[in-house]
Amino acid sequence: MTRKRERLDVIRDILRSIQENRKIKPTRLLYASNLSPQMFKEYVDELLNKKFVKIDIDPKGKKTFSLTTKGYEFLEEYKVIENFIENFGL
């Protein structure tokens, strides 16, 4: 049995999907995140509020998500955060 994905794991997965694609459309990101549309919206809103991701609009008016510097920083620090939580039993 696999363990339930925790909040930080979900955030990491979303950010990694964006990182791998550099720019990704909302629908593709929804599929990649493996979340319900409602949960997906909550997470994306949180990531936008925390300025981990930004929305780019191309000349045709289509939206794509891309990572901000803070988003890249989070991915780099994710292992440290995970390690910290596990080692200190938090």
Binding site: V80, F88, L90
Partner: protein, 228 residues
């Protein structure tokens, strides 16, 4: 002159030096964990950071503001207030440390808006104030000691479970368990010193050593994991 005698005869300076090290350790831990918290918004990290923030404040009150330099010389009549504040912050720090290990049972992952002012933490504030008042009115420190012994007994069990669960993946978790046991011994010894040994300085030196090792182990863990 042996080490114990030297420490006892220079106890005021030793105490300041002891507190200075602990305050520096707490400051480093608070800054490092605050950075991790701001990035992750993880509540466990948040409560862990608060614990060391409160430890730092407690030691500043007791050993700097409450030392001979300020209160003893200028306001000796307010020494009781310093003691009350010291106990309050120390008890709250213990609560925060314990809660950082068990917050998942009481909160969802999004947590509360504030980690200092929410209903769960309010319960801790009320308990801390009650314990401090009991100690004040009975002119003792035994309520604080007993609360911390119970608290760190629970924290030691949780730390042991985390260590057993993690295996070799969580290399620091065994040191975490050792730190919890040490501080538990420290509180038991402190309690015994107050109750049976009439605050014997030699016993108290061992308490200070246990406490110091506890803080240094945590500093080691934080520095190692955050690559400092």
């Amino acid at each position: 002159m042996d080490v114990y005698s030297w420490i006892i005869s220079n106890k005021e300076i030793v105490k300041i030096f002891y507190a200075l090290i602990i305050v520096i350790v707490c400051t480093i831990i608070v800054f490092r964990t605050d950075k991790l918290f701001k990035l992750s918004l993880h509540n466990g990290i948040r409560y862990f950071r608060n614990a060391f923030f409160f430890y730092g404040i407690a030691f500043i009150f007791r050993y700097f503001i409450g030392s001979g330099f300020i209160v003893d010389l200028f306001y000796p009549e307010y020494y009781f207030a310093i003691n009350i504040l010291f106990e309050f912050f120390l008890i709250m720090a213990g609560f925060f440390l314990l809660y950082s290990l068990m917050w998942r049972r009481f909160e969802n992952e999004k947590g509360s808006f504030s980690s200092l002012f929410n209903v769960k933490i309010l319960v801790f504030y009320l308990m801390a104030i009650t314990l401090v008042l009991f100690d004040f009115f009975w002119a003792t420190s035994c309520f604080m000691f007993l609360s911390q012994i119970i608290l760190f007994f629970g924290a030691s069990i949780m730390s042991y479970i985390n260590y057993k669960k993690g295996g070799s993946q969580r290399k620091f978790s065994k040191f975490h368990f050792v730190a919890m046991i040490l501080v538990l011994f420290g509180w038991v010894l402190n309690f015994l010193a107050a109750l049976y040994f009439n605050w014997n300085p030699a016993v108290l030196i061992n308490v200070y050593i246990f406490n110091m090792i506890f803080f240094l182990i945590f500093l080691y863990g934080v520095a190692r994991i955050t690559r400092g």
